[in-house]
């Protein structure tokens, strides 16, 4: 079976598009903060409040499909480093 090779940008873009178009209206209101793992090839997803549970369930279910991991209600799944204050221009 031929599978399309996705670039990094493809995976993120497709994942975000699928979320906005097909998933967000169904899940966002009641699941803020949960990890969501999207199969960018089929649009299917797994979701859980426990990140590892969501990740493992997605891997088990979707196998080697390209996956995009995100956090519901947030622009990024993780944050590294404390927030810096923005520099105000004088």
């Amino acid at each position: 079976m031929l599978t399309k090779t996705y670039s990094t940008d493809d995976i993120v873009q497709r994942g975000q598009e699928i979320y906005e178009r097909d998933i967000r209206s169904k899940v966002e209101a009641d699941n803020e903060g949960k990890l969501l793992v999207i199969n960018v090839e089929t649009g299917e997803y797994e979701m859980d409040a426990d990140d590892v549970v969501a990740a493992k369930r997605a891997k088990t279910r979707f196998g080697n499909a390209e996956l995009f991991t995100m956090r519901i209600g947030h622009s990024a799944a993780y944050r590294i480093g404390s927030h810096l204050l923005s520099r105000k221009s004088s």
Binding site: T8, D9, I11, V12, G15, V37, D51, V52, A55, K56, A58, K59, E66, L67, F68, T69, M70, S75, A76, A77, Y78, R79, I80, G81, S82, H83, L84, S86
Partner: protein, 122 residues
């Protein structure tokens, strides 16, 4: 579990990271309470462990910029028990984050050579 505050004023903890295939590495990590994930590792450690790739994910950095990182699966020896974690591939020193610390009490003597202690919450 015990670690130490270094002369660079970093809270460090040595961790054993394991891959499903059985390889393991001793990794010196820095505890970063501004990181809400589990663990970051540089690419060469991920490769030498043979960690299975999981997904791409977007991460926000301290300057509010966002980057796409690769995420992998691993387990760590935590308080004598294996715990499954997600590993972000990121340059620089390995970091431990709040997701891994969840359920623990962490105390530090913040002086050079001071002890870092991590134990389960009562």
């Amino acid at each position: 579990m015990t670690g130490v505050v270094t002369r660079h004023w970093e809270a460090t903890l040595d961790l054993i990271v394991r891959a499903p295939v059985g390889r393991e590495e001793h990794v010196q990590t820095v505890v970063d309470t501004g990181f809400n994930g589990y663990l970051t590792l540089p690419d060469f450690l991920i490769a030498s462990l043979g960690l299975p790739y999981h997904s791409r994910t977007v991460v926000t950095l301290a300057d509010a910029s966002q980057v796409t990182l690769r995420q992998y699966e691993a387990s760590v020896l935590w308080d004598g028990t294996g715990r499954d974690v997600l590993v972000l591939e990121a340059d620089g020193g390995p970091l431990i984050g709040m997701a891994l610390l969840r359920g623990s009490r962490m105390t530090m003597d913040i002086e050079v050579g001071g002890a870092l202690r991590i134990e389960p919450l009562p």
